[in-house]
Subunit: 234 residues, 3 copies
């Protein structure tokens, strides 16, 4: 059954990356090219992850539970791209964008250490990782929102939706982690795979479409005039 | 015999990095400093790779064939520098340069997985890796060329030569891979080392000189006036 | 006793990262935000390193001596941030800043290989690593100083102090390495831990305060007028 979910993940990510890849190649205007391109790489990286998991590569046994190390390696590359995508849409300052990526990588690396540690040490690392995630959410809700609304005063709703979806999906990951064999062992190995696959498809393919839709809204809100002028200067 | 080729590689890369390093220190003008500097790091990284291989470090046995893992680690750093070099010469837009580097790293990481996988799984990863390379070639021939010719309308020949040499050398790598023990096992271990050494010296030291020569041609073609003006603004 | 030093390191880095983190959140002006933010991540990364070492994670035995591999992994991330901090204060050109980071990462990766190699191969890598460090010092004393003094002609003393402290601390690391079991085995395992902890706290928390103080001096020297004007353009 786990294999079925992994195949579903691999197919979804491959289809997503083909769609976004063609979009990038045919994009009209630089903004569309950048958003399509980021979505393409996010899905393409995830497609490789699922292919590796289908082949049972890149995982090890910690005690008697399987730990997919490859997940963390690919997340280290794909999640910063998602934050770059958000930062591009909201025109976040470099120091805030870099800090978000820093908190994100910190979260993934310590989450990886939590996964390969035995209990109770794994719990300490889990808390550290959640602390990094709390920092990331703080940056998103305070600085990211503030800067996005400053640049696009007419598009508050667009960013509210974008942030709500983003934080809802990302918050589900540590919940699955703590419920699965990595934590309290409440849900089984198949359910864990199913949850991660659904979350991954939502966070990568689904969020990719939301990002495209958001860009369209930003342009339609006629913030675009100011937007394009300033882009032209950079 | 393999050791002889590894020593030749190490010496060539060391001599190359010393030459380019001195060039960077004495460069007149920012453009020359950047091109020398990139060449220096490309050769210096490769010199370390060959030193590690001489010491028989960073490789493992997959079945009965030796797999040099260090090659892939150093390529992950040195090949993006080559693409940055190309992008600097052609003044490629950030999104295309980043996409080329993304495709390149994707190619190397999946090529690495192909190398450490046993057959027939290794063949699947090989195809994925070649797919990434095809994407990179597409970006080079379509977007890179287009943008370079737009910025330097009088230097089409320079970029044609640069791209031809670059693609010819890089295409030889997957051919060696599939002919060696990693693929069909048609050529032996010594021939494999010899091929990789010759290709590495061509792709790093040789291509470095070609890049310097191309920069000179670009400046001589008097595209330089427009070039320097725009550089000054950035 | 080693554990005591590791705990001292962990607590110092945690306190440091809390202090700098609050500073970043309350910073007045972009320059202060950037300097606080870089200090925060430098200390936060080191705090994780010490936590891992307390838990006896991420190290292996080379012969009969323990080698903390995690040190090198975290240094790969934290030391480039220190060089970015220096480059930001001195407004170093991108090619010099990138070259310093390149030399730094080269030094750490080859130092890591030296640590996991057995003698006498480890000595060869140690010399290569010291060579990269010599290159970094050369870049700092020639290009970094020159560019910093050009941008802040009235603040030569500030940069002299910054460079002296920076180079003095960093030069102590290879000395500890060669005296400890990784080299001549003159000092014991506890003394090695003590030295690295003291150096780490000096290089991260201590240097962080020095960086803040330097920024204040730069602003007070009224170089700030020219400084802010040019910043505003970027």
């Amino acid at each position: 059954m786990t294999q079925v979910w992994l195949w579903l993940g691999c197919i979804s990510m491959t289809v997503g990356s083909i769609f976004f890849g063609f979009g990038a190649d045919r994009a009209k205007g630089k903004s569309w090219q950048i958003v399509y391109c980021l979505n393409f790489f996010i899905c393409a990286i995830a497609a490789s992850l699922y292919l590796a998991m289908i082949f049972k590569q890149g995982f090890t046994y910690i005690g008697d539970r399987p730990a997919y190390l490859t997940r963390y390696l690919t997340w280290t590359f794909s999640t910063p791209l998602t934050l770059i995508l958000l930062s591009y849409l909201g025109r976040t300052s470099i120091v805030i964008a870099a800090s978000m990526i820093g908190a994100d990588v910190y979260m993934i690396v310590t989450g990886f250490v939590a996964t390969i540690s035995s209990k109770p040490i794994s719990n300490v690392w889990y808390i550290v990782s959640c602390g990094a995630y709390a920092g990331l959410v703080y940056l998103l809700l305070k600085y990211y929102r503030q800067q996005a609304e400053q640049h696009y005063p007419r598009s508050k709703k667009t960013f509210k939706r974008l942030l709500t979806v983003h934080i809802a999906i990302w918050t589900a990951y540590p919940i699955v982690w703590i419920l699965a064999s990595t934590g309290f062992n409440v849900i089984g190995s198949v359910a864990e795979s199913a949850c991660y696959t659904i979350l991954d498809v939502a966070a990568k393919v689904g969020f990719g479409f939301l990002a495209l839709n958001s860009l369209q809204q930003l342009e339609q809100a006629e913030d675009v005039t100011q937007y394009q002028q300033e882009r032209a200067l950079t």
